[in-house]
């Protein structure tokens, strides 16, 4: 793990020192050692701030999409994990980021942890998380401490990950991981799928009733790029209501889901960003499962592939 961290720092240092990039995006420690946050490094001597651990869940591709780079024409170095790289590939497929202005450092990733699972084990605030091999130690502000296995607190999508290795990178750091063979897994859906229509509806209604329309899910989504033109906000046409109630919130989330269809690899950034813990993964993962079963399509696997909804086959076996 630390060797990967060193390799990231080295790659960042080289990219900055050679003038290849204006700034480099990686992860650094947040306000406590229990958090990793995106870091924007401008000088080679600052690269020691960069870290790599299973806390580094942020999908940094978000910071490449339209209107995010500052200044807009910046040349940017960026770290991507396996799932992150698929969102980058999706943007590249549609020509939405300029490959020439990027320096992509790919990191094979064995999974990141779901901090919400750790938080749920304590009533106090978790302020420190350490990793030693497969063992995780979490400590709270008042000094309470617990140990558990890394596998128990990984994000559910990380178990059986179909693309642990970056699908696109200018430089790969760390050892590549074995790719899983066979059909991709879409975990966490069985319970939902087993519900009848009314129960699904009730589940979604409960989930969306708490939505506060903060747009964190949309803005953190690396492949949701309309930004100030977002139809969810537009008043001309006024298609999505601005009232915050269950019905309008539901439509709002559906619109987000359908508008990223074909680009969304279920990286889960929206789910983790949601301040009210709406299970957004459910919708997106279910959609991706349907897409896979429908056309055998998975988003962001190959830069040269066409996005599924921007192409067609005359012999698609669909509908009547």
């Amino acid at each position: 793990m630390s060797s990967t961290q060193d390799a990231i720092r080295e790659a960042a240092k080289n990219a900055l020192a050679s003038g290849r990039v204006d700034y480099f995006i990686g992860w650094t420690q947040g306000h406590t050692p229990s958090e990793a946050i995106p870091a924007f490094i401008r000088r080679p001597e600052e690269v020691d701030r960069l870290i790599w651990s299973p806390l580094c869940h942020h999908n940094l591709v978000t910071f490449l999409k339209r209107k995010m780079p500052d200044p807009p024409e910046s040349r940017i170095g960026v770290c991507v994990k396996g799932c992150d790289s698929r969102t980058l590939v999706a943007l590249l497929q549609e020509g939405l980021v300029d490959r020439e202005r990027l320096y992509v450092v790919g990191i094979p990733c064995a999974g990141v942890i779901d901090k919400r699972l750790v938080d749920a084990l304590f009533t106090d605030e978790v302020t420190e998380i350490d990793f030693e091999g497969d063992l995780v130690t979490a400590r709270t502000r008042m000094g309470e401490s617990k140990e558990f296995a890394l596998a128990d607190v990984l994000l559910d999508q990380c178990g059986g990950c179909y693309s642990p290795n970056p699908r696109y990178a200018d430089e790969l750091v760390g050892d590549t991981l074995p790719e899983s063979q066979g059909k991709p897994q879409f975990p966490g859906l069985e319970e939902f799928e087993a519900l009848d229509s009314a129960a699904k509806d009730a589940l979604l209604a409960e989930a969306f009733s708490t939505c506060i329309r903060c747009f964190a899910c949309i803005n953190v989504c690396p492949v949701c790029y309309c930004w100030d033109q977002c139809v969810n906000r537009s008043r001309r046409p006024a298609l999505v209501g601005q009232k915050v109630d269950t019905k309008e919130n539901t439509l709002f989330q559906m619109v987000h889901m359908f508008h990223v269809a074909g680009r969304c690899p279920s990286c889960g950034a929206c789910d983790r960003a949601c301040p009210v813990q709406i299970p957004l993964y459910l919708l997106h993962r279910k959609m991706n499962k349907e897409l896979y079963e429908m056309l055998g399509f998975m988003a962001g696997m190959d830069v040269d592939e066409k996005p599924v909804f921007q192409t067609f086959r005359i012999d698609d076996v669909l509908g009547e």
Partner: protein, 143 residues
Amino acid sequence: MTAQTETRTRPVKVIAIVCNWCSYAGADGAGTARLKQPYNFRVLRVPCTGRIDPLLALKAFQKGADGVLISGCHPGDCHYSEGNYYARRKFELLDRMLPHLGVESQRFKYTWVSASEAARWQSVITEFVGHVQELGPREGRAL
């Protein structure tokens, strides 16, 4: 009659989003030929099914439609050559997702009706509205 049975029996509202070149002409033909059709659907004409965003169907459901039918030119016959091929992929996904979003699958349908198929339009719309009427009005749902 109690309020509940009243809502069960009220006529359903169906929105048909059709393309200008084939299905609208087909529906128009059905009207001109005085073929008997249900009265409780509304037709929205768009240039091409390729233009229809799933959002339009979702919004129709959200604002009180009980069923949404989308119809365009037969694959291969699109006025713009290929719009309906794109539409086919989009609506297949929507069709597969709606049952998971609290909309029964019989309430949504996408199909193809050409300008000359007035009789087909009649049977498609009659059958579709019939299915939706069997399910009854949608009320008290999240979407």
